[in-house]
Subunit: 184 residues, 2 copies
Amino acid sequence: MPNKSAPSMQDVYTKPGHLFRRMQQIAVAIFMEECAALDLTPVQYAALVAIRDDPGIDATRLSALVAFDRSTLGNVLERLEAKDLIVRRPTPDDKRIKVLHMTAKGQRLLAKAMPAVDRAQERMMAPLAPSERKTMMALLAKLVHLNNGVSRAPLRIEHGKARRTAAAPRRRALNGTASEQTHA
Amino acid sequence: MPNKSAPSMQDVYTKPGHLFRRMQQIAVAIFMEECAALDLTPVQYAALVAIRDDPGIDATRLSALVAFDRSTLGNVLERLEAKDLIVRRPTPDDKRIKVLHMTAKGQRLLAKAMPAVDRAQERMMAPLAPSERKTMMALLAKLVHLNNGVSRAPLRIEHGKARRTAAAPRRRALNGTASEQTHA
DNA sequence: TCGTTATTGACAGCATACTGATAGACTGCA
DNA sequence: TGCAGTCTATCAGTATGCTGTCAATAACGA
């Protein structure tokens, strides 16, 4: 009988946790290589896209849209503002909130980033055949969707786009739990 | 014609980079939940396993075995030592090196961690059917394998287990590049 | 043997993540 | 109306991950 009394590195190498960590390392490295000239991180890119999609959004709602931890996002936005890619403005209707808008510089950078980001996505999947990529992405999407809500930063998409205004009272319950799935 | 002039969040959601980041978030969250009582992170767990597998290894070689960045590993080892799970000792033959050994406390913790780690791995794959899990893991392993060398911390396994001794001069070229694959 | 090159551990600095706490602002309900 | 509970941004603390640098040490080649 083989010795099963203790885990070895050979076991670790085949475990999902190890492989997901490695793949994340690789994905970030490739992204950073492609975007080196733009001084843009994956997280910053996603935040910019979301802000451009939804101008006037506030930081807490943004964190739900891009599935970032709220505490982390504060620093990310600070850096984006320091680089003049976005602006944060307080609002008269709700003094707790600072709404986010892209600057012209941010728009230009995002346009330039697009091809670089696409190249990065291509490169990380390059080792797989086209049919394998499809399978991989379908399974990965399923895994992420059905595990949404596990981490501190689950993805939460506001349906009906009735974003908060002075007239429309804000929807409650932004604090989703693990059992609550955003898309059914 | 649809407007393809700019990326939207809907595009980002389906990109590999986004999904890998989300999955890593989820995997770490699940691991930490299962190991909360043990005060052990995924990275610390892998380091412990590797040190137990290969007592007397030094930090640089360890970083290659577990695919950690060398700079990060220093802090990880510091914390493991502070928790009395490992010891770092200088050697007379090479004054640059500090060799690593597990303590009895580390052994005990590792034994206790095993079932928790297994539960974590189960949980993160739980949403997939057994056949889907197999497919996913095979593709993920392939992707990581063939992209090994891309990040700053590629996996490098020493073949022939001729670890350095006073008699045997150390193998050169630990500085692998992206083109160099560890296993053919 | 002696100078060049490599290796090692340690740092400083930046960016992403998460936990938990806090102060101020707002809402809804009694 | 007034207060309890909620929501916002922010902060301190911890951990990972990367870039780049440094001094001490070791190996190698001329």
